[in-house]
Each structure stands twice: as structure tokens, then as C-alpha cells.
């Protein structure tokens, strides 16, 4: 363990309740603890340790910052209440924001004081950002925005939305998109939560936009340059995503790991799932290591595929090996249901496979 991770572990020891590991299942849903953790971790420089001290970080090197994140995952640090804020919006503001935007928005987004939503998906566009139809026309320093977003996580509780809109209808589909910082309290914005099939950790919303006025100063990044903002901000999630799937897999396996009795064939399946978890962790680390060493690294799409398969097999195993106990523990089914969504967020498995086949293996582009 490096010095910096021991220092981080010391911070965790000081912050987390003594029975945190033991009663993780309970603390996982403790809103107060999660909120306070984010603020405390930010204040201590541990939330974004790779950022400079002036921005709330510790100026750590990439390897040290990743080591801190891994140490956090091993300790199962409390889940951020609003992941899109610190994980996606904040890095985008940091890279693309004006000085005024950074001053106003960066700290509250990262610390969790102001929540963010991401306005990407639209009905009928799904994984296909280039097909988005929400429009914004700029006149007299004000954008007028109309359209509809869907699957917008936590829009009902968020203050801001990084809203992707079509600003140039004439340009090629991915060239005419811009990113606006929308105040969700603006007139003309209507947010409707969508009821989910199981008890979801975060809410899902539809966002209706009817001639919403957004000042020109709220443009994030270049006009018509929204595609680049989107790609770059999703890029920041990269390591976070695989660390999270690894965590989810090990968490899903816990009932099976500690079950009093397992048959041999269940043990074989457990072994396969352990390999899944290690496959995600080690491929994530190897990718980071090769990137850091300036070497070509395995296609990042494989992390997505490995991660979703890993979580799904683990949840299915825990549900099936529980036998009749599953009838009394609906959480096992809920985890299974949630795991099926893992192949959807951030691009379906089909899309990941096309990307690998075409970009990495060099197979001809077909119809998709």
C-alpha cells in the first residue's frame, strides 16, 4: 500500500461508522451518510484527488489517484447521491467551462451541493445521440429550447441539466449539436418521474421543454461543439464505471460466497463468477496501466461488455443458488432485474460489439 492510500484509509477510518463494513447493507441506503461522505471527501481532497489543490483535489498522479479510488472501492465507500454531478458534469465544466461557469458551478457539482442531470436520451433516439431532435435557436443572446428528453436520471431532484440540443439543423447530424447548462427551475421545463419496475436506487424522468429560454452564457463548450463535450465527459466516467461494476459483482456474489451450503455445480458457477470479477478488475487496471505507459490498450468497449456480463451472471447465480430462500428475499430478484439494465446504460452490448469488430478488429462497416 502506498503512503497516499494509507492516508486515505486513515480518513475513511475517521469518517465511517465503526460497524460500516459489517452493516453495509443498511448503510448503503443511508442518505444522510452518503451526503455527508461526499462533502467530507471533497473537503479533504479525496473525491477528485487528481485535480489541483485549488479545485478541491490533491494534485495526485493518475496512478496514485486510481489507487485511491480502488482503495475506496475495496472499502465500499458510500455511493455518491448524484453521480452525474461529480462524475460527468463536473469534469465537463472543468474542461469546457468559461471562468464564470467554473467559478459558479464546479465546486457545488463536485461536492454534491447542487445536483445535475444529463439531458442526452430522447424518445426514439436512445443510444443514438446523433439522432436527437430537441432544438435550440439562438436570437438576441438567448437560446429558445423545445423538445423532450427521457431516461433523465434524477432530473426531478437536480438543480441543473447538461442539455444536449440541436443548434444547427443543416449540419451533418453529429456536427450540429450543442451543450447548454439548463437551470431546471426555468419556466417551460416540466419534469415527470417515470415509475420503475423495481426499487431503483436513482429516479428516472421525462423532461419536457416548451420554449424554454436559456441565456447564451449558459452554452458549455463551443456552439455546435456538443458532440465533443459529450464524448469527453463520458470518457471521464471510464475508470469509475469498471470500478463500479467490479464492486457490484462482488456485492452480488456475497450471498453465495457466504451461503452455508453449496452444491458442487454451484461452486463451479461461483468460480466462474469470481473469474468474471477478476476479469473486470484486472482488465480495467491493465487498460489504465497501458494507457499510462503510453502503450496501446485493449479496446475500452470490452470493459463494458465484461462488466455487464459479470454483474448479470453474479446476480443470476445468487438468485438461483438461493433456492427457496429467494422466495423470502425479494432483494435478490431486484438485483437481478437491475443487472439486466447493465447492458443498456451507456450503449447496448450490440453497439459495443460493433465498435470492437470495426475499430479494433478492422472488420468492414456494415449496416449496424
Amino acid at each position: 500500500m502506498t503512503d497516499v492510500t494509507s492516508e486515505f484509509e486513515a480518513f475513511l477510518d475517521g469518517f465511517l461508522p465503526a460497524d460500516y463494513a459489517e452493516n453495509y447493507r443498511h448503510y448503503r441506503r443511508d442518505v444522510k451518510l452518503r451526503t455527508e461522505y461526499q462533502a467530507a471527501a471533497f473537503d479533504a481532497g479525496w473525491l477528485v484527488p487528481e485535480w489541483g489543490p485549488g479545485e478541491g483535489g490533491r494534485g495526485l498522479s493518475v496512478p496514485d489517484a486510481l489507487a485511491v479510488k480502488l482503495a475506496g472501492a475495496r472499502r465500499r465507500v458510500p455511493r455518491l447521491m448524484n453521480i452525474q454531478g461529480a462524475g460527468v458534469a463536473a469534469p465537463a465544466i472543468r474542461s469546457y467551462g468559461t471562468a464564470a461557469q467554473r467559478a459558479r458551478l464546479l465546486r457545488p457539482a463536485t461536492r454534491g451541493d447542487e445536483w445535475w442531470a444529463l439531458g442526452m436520451s430522447e424518445p426514439g433516439a436512445g443510444s443514438d445521440l446523433a439522432a436527437l431532435r430537441t432544438t435550440a435557436t439562438l436570437a438576441d443572446g438567448v437560446f429558445t429550447v423545445s423538445g423532450q428528453k427521457v431516461w433523465t436520471t434524477q432530473a426531478d431532484e437536480a438543480r441543473w441539466c447538461a442539455l444536449y440540443v440541436r443548434t444547427d439543423p443543416e449540419a451533418r447530424p453529429h456536427r450540429g449539436i450543442s451543450c447548454l447548462i439548463l437551470d431546471l427551475r426555468s419556466p417551460g421545463v416540466e419534469v415527470r418521474p417515470i415509475r420503475t419496475a423495481g426499487p431503483a436506487v436513482e429516479s428516472f424522468c421525462e423532461v419536457f421543454l416548451d420554449e424554454v429560454k436559456v441565456p447564451e452564457e449558459a452554452l458549455l463548450g463551443p456552439l455546435h461543439g456538443g458532440w465533443g463535450v459529450a464524448m469527453s465527459s463520458l470518457e471521464h466516467e471510464r475508470d469509475m464505471i469498471w470500478i463500479n461494476t467490479w464492486l457490484e459483482t462482488t456485492r452480488a456474489l456475497e450471498p453465495t460466497l457466504t451461503a452455508p451450503e453449496l452444491s458442487e455445480h454451484q461452486l463451479v458457477r461461483l468460480g466462474r463468477s469470481l473469474a468474471d470479477a477478476e476479469g473486470v478488475r484486472l482488465t480495467g487496471l491493465r487498460t489504465a496501466a497501458q494507457r499510462w505507459a503510453g502503450l496501446p490498450s485493449p479496446a475500452s468497449s470490452i470493459l463494458k461488455l465484461l462488466g455487464s456480463e459479470s454483474v448479470q451472471r453474479a446476480a443470476l447465480l445468487s438468485l438461483e443458488s438461493a433456492g427457496a430462500r429467494a422466495f423470502d428475499d425479494p432483494a435478490l430478484f431486484d438485483e437481478r432485474l437491475e443487472s439486466l439494465a447493465a447492458t443498456i446504460y451507456g450503449g447496448t452490448s450490440e453497439i459495443q460489439r460493433n465498435i470492437i469488430a470495426e475499430r479494433t478488429l478492422g472488420l468492414p462497416k456494415g449496416t449496424p
Partner: protein, 346 residues
């Protein structure tokens, strides 16, 4: 007529399937399941009883009508429609009673519950079971239980209102429209059974054979219903400028799902004809795996819509998961079938 020709449903079976399909649909399974998730209670016994569905597959000398294959096509329609009326529980109870020789015609006049558990039944027919999940346990007039002891197996019929039957506190949220409440029987002095029969341990699979076929038929129907839903969705849903059903990646997954459903159906028909323990174990295992697989695919192809309450796919997934392990997890059934086959082959 050779045996295998019986694998094609005859005109009577087809007419029964059509009637059942129309009637079960009118009972609005998905809508009732959604209501049940919100705490509503699924009824519907009267409809299935008045429709005569509970007599199907019962031998004529016991007042029944039709063959095992008729029971199969009917339960498949029930699974497809996500029927919430307590038809499967009754079918499991009555088939098991018939197989164990403890069936009475009057049992069919009221909804039945069914469960498998570890426990003991003493010589006077007093039954002690620490915990048993009873399908159809709420509102059943009688529980039919397969009680596995260390060296014997018993089939018992007990009165849920009888002394010594206690409901066990639990959540059952996987599929509240077809609840699986848990009970403890005769903690202290045992519960007196209305009927009981002691069997050798080796007879267990013979007695369960019909029940396995019923569960498998229900699961095949659930898988088939999910496949229909998935096909409908990929024809409507457009991405990258075309229906997603035009993409080979989607097509191949659905073709595999179709193949899996037809394969499971073949195994269920075959098991219904033979009622051979090995065949019934395999049919149950395959139907369970197929239902989980196809309902999962349905959920995944629905994309983000698949996780909403309004989508039907989670209802199919709930039903498939709850029913898949009802008579044992698939791997354990494959194992048991392989052991039987190895005893025969060597």
C-alpha cells in the same frame, strides 16, 4: 396411429387452447400483476372453476376430462397470458394427489395450495414441517404437500385453517399476483392430515412427474409470451433509422429464443406423453432455463423502457424467476436426470 403422432395436438386440444387463450386474456394477467405489485389481491378462481379448467387431465373415473397434453396446452396459454387466477397451484395439487392415490373429486371444488418441503409425517398422519412455501397458499381450501423425510416421502392434504398451521411472516415481492406464502406446520404436536400416503424415497420423482410437466408447461407459455412481446417491440422500436429487428445481432438472438421455446415445448409434450421421471425432470429444467433466458432477453431488448413499471417485460421476468425454481433449480434437475440415465445405461 403411432405414439409420436400424439405429439401433435388434436382438434380438441387446439379448440381448448383457443378458448383458454381468449378467456385467459380477458382476465388481463399483466394488469392484475401490476395491481398486485401495488398491494391488490389477484382472484379469479371462479372463472377457472366455471370454465371447467380444473378437470382437465384428471382421469375420467375421477370425473375428469381430456388427456395430459390438453392440460399442457391449457397451462401454456395460462403462462402466456400471465394468468393470475390460482390454476397452476390447483393443477399441481390435483396431479400430485392423483399420482399418490389420494385425490377426491370434491377437492376440485375449491382452490388448492401446493408445496414441497422437508419434514415428517407420523403413522397417524400427523405432519410436522418447519417451513414450506405454498403456491396458492392464500385462499386455498386445502394444501397438498410433498413432505420429504430422511428415508421416506409423504403426500399429505391438510386444512390450512386446521390447528397447528401458522403463517410465517415474510415478503414475497417477486410475483405477488401468484403468492408463495410460507407456513409452519405442527410445530409442537403436528397437524392432522385429511389424506396422506407414505411412499418410498425412490418414488418421489414418479409422484412429482405430473407436477413437473405442469410447471414446465406454464414456463413454456411464459417464455412464448415474452418472445411475442419481444418480437412486437423490435418491429416497432427504431434506432439508427430502422426497426431494431432488422439488425442481425437482434435477429439472431430472437431466432435462438424461438428455437429454445420450441425445444422446450417439444420436451414438455414428450414428458406429458411418457410421464417418465427422467423426461419430466428434463422438461422442467429446460422450461425453467428457457423462461428465464427469454424473459431476460425481452427485458434487455426493451432497452431503458424495460426497467419501467409500465413495461410488461418485468412481469414476465418476475413470473419466470418465481416459477423456475419452484420444484428445484435447473442444475439440480439435470443432475437427477443424469443419475437416472446412468443407472439405466450401465
Amino acid at each position: 396411429m403411432t405414439d409420436w403422432q400424439l405429439l401433435a395436438p388434436d382438434e380438441d386440444s387446439l379448440a381448448l387452447a383457443d378458448t383458454a387463450r381468449a378467456q385467459f386474456r380477458s382476465l388481463r394477467g399483466p394488469a392484475v400483476m401490476r395491481a398486485a405489485l401495488d398491494g391488490g389481491v389477484a382472484g379469479g378462481w371462479e372463472t377457472v372453476a366455471e370454465g371447467g379448467y380444473v378437470d382437465i387431465g384428471i382421469p375420467e373415473e375421477l370425473g375428469g376430462i381430456g388427456r395430459m397434453i390438453d392440460l399442457v396446452v391449457m397451462l401454456e396459454e395460462a403462462g402466456r397470458a400471465l394468468l393470475t387466477a390460482p390454476l397452476l397451484a390447483s393443477a399441481l395439487a390435483f396431479r400430485t394427489q392423483v399420482a399418490a392415490g389420494v385425490h377426491r373429486e370434491e377437492f376440485r371444488r375449491a382452490p388448492a395450495g401446493f408445496g414441497i418441503a422437508e419434514g415428517v409425517v407420523d403413522e397417524g398422519g400427523r405432519c410436522r414441517v418447519e417451513r414450506v412455501h405454498v403456491l396458492g397458499g392464500h385462499g386455498a381450501a386445502a394444501f397438498t404437500l410433498v413432505v420429504q423425510g430422511p428415508e421416506q416421502v409423504w403426500v399429505v392434504v391438510v386444512d390450512p385453517e386446521g390447528e397447528g398451521v401458522e403463517a410465517v411472516e415474510q415478503d414475497t415481492l417477486v410475483d405477488p399476483s401468484r403468492p408463495l406464502p410460507a407456513f409452519r406446520l405442527g410445530h409442537k404436536t403436528g397437524v392432522a392430515a385429511a389424506e396422506w400416503r407414505e411412499l418410498a424415497f425412490g418414488d418421489l420423482e414418479r409422484v412429482l412427474a405430473g407436477a413437473r410437466v405442469c410447471v414446465a408447461a406454464d414456463l413454456v407459455g411464459t417464455a412464448a409470451g415474452a418472445l411475442d412481446g419481444a418480437v412486437e417491440h423490435v418491429l416497432q422500436r427504431r434506432q439508427f433509422g430502422r426497426a431494431i429487428g432488422a439488425f442481425q445481432g437482434v435477429k439472431h438472438q430472437l431466432a435462438d429464443a424461438y428455437t429454445a421455446v420450441e425445444r422446450a415445448r417439444s420436451l414438455v409434450y414428450g414428458a406429458a406423453l411418457s410421464l417418465d421421471p427422467r423426461d419430466c425432470l428434463l422438461a422442467n429444467a429446460v422450461a425453467a432455463e428457457t423462461a428465464v433466458r427469454v424473459t431476460s432477453l425481452f427485458t434487455q431488448l426493451m432497452g431503458a423502457m424495460g426497467v419501467t413499471f409500465e413495461a410488461d417485460c418485468h412481469l414476465f421476468l418476475r413470473r419466470a424467476h418465481q416459477t423456475a425454481c419452484l420444484l428445484g433449480e435447473p442444475d439440480a434437475l439435470y443432475l437427477a436426470a443424469a443419475r437416472i440415465e446412468r443407472r439405466i445405461s450401465r
